[in-house]
């Protein structure tokens, strides 16, 4: 693993921040969560820090303290805007940062997902990504009424029926990514010819049917939208366990993992590489990002006090699937530069409180990393693939056409 490659840094945006009581913090803007200005301010703050990308969380059901279904709490943020539209809304107001909305694949039409993300790539001039999300929620399924998803009991997650249900959901998600990627490739880059002599706008030989037929859906193609600027927008996925590692290895460019210490980080990187081999991945290796929830302040005591106060307001100590970091930017910079030695490519930081912890990341963490020569000083690439060191792939159909039959 080369150590000289720059660290990658992303931030995960969700409502008023990841702590359920974040909206009650001083400086929070709970009345603005459904306005464009709020999201513009967050994303431009992240861009000022030269971060690689922002992800925008989403789901097709309400937030809840319960695993599935709603609770009746009135003291938590409720409501959420469509993340892909939020990303589109801020695209013209930013110029370098990657925009990675969450799009749930379980109930959506893959064709729509493909054109929406391709269009985000056009509107942002090559900065679009996608956080693939599976919905295993029975209550979300009831919002669509087309299929039943059996309630998945966490205690029984190893039961054969549960394993089968989860395997199917992830299989469907992998199919969705596959068909979306085929649709992105279905127009060769030079398909538009505008040939006045023959009257042809497009060279139909450079448009391709994708003819995907799987267990859950089939899609004929080609896309209605031409090939996007990046060719393939960047696909990301959060993964905690083997089924999700395999999905990421089959389908994604970037995987977010959730170790709680450096040993677990080391193990997660190994598990991702194992999953790549198991999936027979032959393209570029997955970029592995570690997720951390962060509460960052000028000193450890202030950070700790701030989080303790939020815990008290919420009536519970905050816990997350990811490790929770509470402390100064310098200590966080030390932690990131240490953890990356096990082969981590970057970090996706989840601000505990917005905009407070996001501002702390761009104003304190980024300079601290730069002082350690661990992070870029300004953007040197204009596309998200460029920022992540991913090449722009040729359309698989161009490649197929260029390969003589043997």
């Amino acid at each position: 693993m080369t150590r000289s490659t720059p660290l990658h840094l992303a931030v995960a945006l969700d409502g008023a921040g990841w702590h359920p009581a974040a909206w009650r913090s001083p400086g929070a803007r709970p009345g603005d969560l459904f306005t464009a200005d709020y999201w513009r301010d967050l994303v431009t703050t992240a861009e000022r820090g030269s971060l690689d990308f922002v992800t925008i969380e989403d789901s097709l059901g309400p937030r809840s303290s319960r695993r599935d279904g709603v609770d009746d709490r009135t003291d938590h943020v409720r409501g959420r805007l469509d993340a892909a539209l939020l990303a589109a809304r801020v695209a013209p107001l930013t110029s370098h940062i990657g925009l990675v909305p969450t799009v749930t694949t379980t109930h959506t039409e893959p064709f729509h997902v493909s054109t929406a993300l391709a269009t985000l790539d056009f509107a942002s001039k090559g900065r679009a990504g996608w956080q693939v999300k599976v919905s295993a929620s029975a209550t979300e399924a009831a919002h669509f009424g087309r299929r039943r998803i059996p309630p998945i009991d966490h205690e029984r997650r190893h039961d054969p029926e549960t394993v089968r249900a989860i395997t199917q959901l992830f299989g469907e998600a992998a199919d969705t990514v596959e068909v979306v990627r085929r649709l992105w490739d279905s127009w060769e880059d030079d398909a538009v010819i505008r040939d006045v002599t023959t009257g042809r706008f497009v060279d139909r030989d450079k448009l391709h049917y994708v003819d995907f037929a799987g267990d859950w859906f089939s899609v004929r193609g080609p896309s209605i939208t031409p090939r996007p600027p990046q060719g393939q927008p960047v696909v990301t996925a959060l993964a905690h366990a083997e089924a999700a590692y395999l999905l990421a290895a089959r389908a994604a460019d970037v995987v977010f993992v959730t170790p709680h210490d450096i040993e677990e980080a080391d193990a997660a990187v190994s598990a991702v590489r194992d999953a790549e081999r198991a999936a027979g991945r032959d393209g570029e290796p997955l970029r592995v990002f570690v997720d951390l929830v962060v509460f960052v302040d000028t000193d450890d005591e202030t950070a700790g006090r701030r989080k303790a106060l939020l815990d008290e307001l919420d009536g519970a100590e905050y816990a997350s699937d990811a490790a929770v970091f509470v402390g100064t930017a310098d200590r966080l910079a030390d932690l990131l530069t240490t953890w990356r030695r096990v082969g981590v490519d970057g970090f996706r930081l989840r601000p505990g409180v917005l905009p407070h912890d996001l501002t702390a990341l761009t104003e304190r963490l980024v300079p601290a990393l730069q002082a350690r020569d661990a992070f870029r000083r300004h953007y040197e690439q204009s596309t998200l693939r460029g920022l992540l060191g991913l090449t722009r792939p040729a359309s698989r159909y161009t490649a197929a056409a260029a390969t003589p039959a043997t």
């Binding site: 909206w23 009650r24 913090s25 929070a28 709970p30 009345g31 306005t35 464009a36 789901s59 097709l60 059901g61 709603v70 609770d71 709490r73 009135t74 003291d75 938590h76 943020v77 409720r78 409501g79 805007l81 469509d82 892909a84 539209l85 939020l86 589109a88 809304r89 801020v90 013209p92 109930h107 039409e109 064709f111 729509h112 054109t115 929406a116 269009t119 985000l120 056009f122 509107a123 209550t139 979300e140 009831a142 919002h143 669509f144 009424g145 087309r146 538009v192 006045v196 009257g199 042809r200 706008f201 139909r204 448009l207 859950w216 859906f217 089939s218 004929r220 209605i224 939208t225 031409p226």
Partner: protein, 454 residues
Amino acid sequence: MTARPKQIILAAHFPGVNNHTVWQDPNAGSQIDFSSFVHLAQTAERGLFDFFFLAEGLRLREQRGRLYDLDVVGRPDTFTVLGALAAVTTRLGLAGTINATFNEPYEIARQFSTLDHLSGGRAAWNVVTSSDAFTGENFRRGGYLDHSQRYERAAEFVRTARELWDSWAQDALVADPSAGVFVSEGDAGAFEHAGVQFDIAGHFTVPRSPQGHPVIIQAGDSDAGRGFAAATADAVFTRHGTLEEGRAFYADVKSKAAAYGRSPDDVKILPGVSFVLGDTESEAHERTRHIRRQQVSPQTAIALLEQLRNRDLSEYDPDGPLPADDPRVSDDTIIKGRARQHDDRVETARRWRAVAEEKKLGIRDLVIEVTDRQRFVGTPARVAEELDTFVQSDASDGFILVPAGLDEFVDKVVPLLQERGVFRTEYTASTLRGHLGLGPPRLSTPSTGVAVSA
């Protein structure tokens, strides 16, 4: 005191993927670069237009089993473009065509409500339907709805979307940190809809948007389409472009709306029209001739005739005479992925033949002659006068302009409409409902026993 003349509604339509969009000109822009959309939307806003209008495509067209390559091909996703345009405009309404067949109400209601939030109340939905198995091959749903079910599904789709939009009370969002109350009720957004097409329940995730309900536009000239529009739509996008047809359509839809207990002013009639301007009448007509020849190339002339006659005519000379036989009548059409063009092929073919014989026209010149659409041609003064006449004589409430040269229209025609006192000189409202003079939406009646607070 004389009554104030009717105010004209103006919308700009991004050029579509059809042969009316001239791409051959070296100055023609990109159909896909975001800058094209920014330019057109900002021009429309400079002209104080009511809204910007986007069409939709869900499958590339095919003719004779091959991808159709003579028109502009390829377009972006509607929601994404409108979401991004909300960032570069401040008052302009943003209308998107979204199919009610290959989507689900929860998702579409959520996207339009989000767009309404992110644009500060400027979202509109042009509801269209499809029964097309060809298009269905790109979707999970497939294409199994028959024609009558299309409107049944669409009507229930819109009704369901409205129930979702009404599921958050206006004052549900409290966001009071000191009191620790974010929402007024624990089950904000609760909904339940049990119908023929949709049987869904749960919680909607988007608080009530600035307009409450985004503006609903309905396209479609069939009887079923008119009934649906009169019952549910805020505006109707129509092809009835001539003054006489327009007046008949206008009277019909407005009276149907009254029969549904709505005010005639609750539904605006907006024909899609194009225009060609010139410094003189003869210059405008010369430009029209030039545009028509670009719109109907020799290859396009044959393709359009094939669509009528429903068979391969590739061996025919575009400058030569029409085929002598009758059109092939079959349910299976040679063109796929395009709205039906001809109701009665045999009758239309006879009419075309009569025109060709009378005017002694070859195939291309005939197609140029008979496929022309309503357009306003002339000097800016003449076009302004005709548009005004159209509206004042109740043939429409305004227009959805299919622009070739929107800048010219904004610079030369809009000031003349303003002088006539029939078009705004500044925006007086911030929402699209406000521009259109529509009142707040009526709360929907839930289809089940779930209470909706008024």
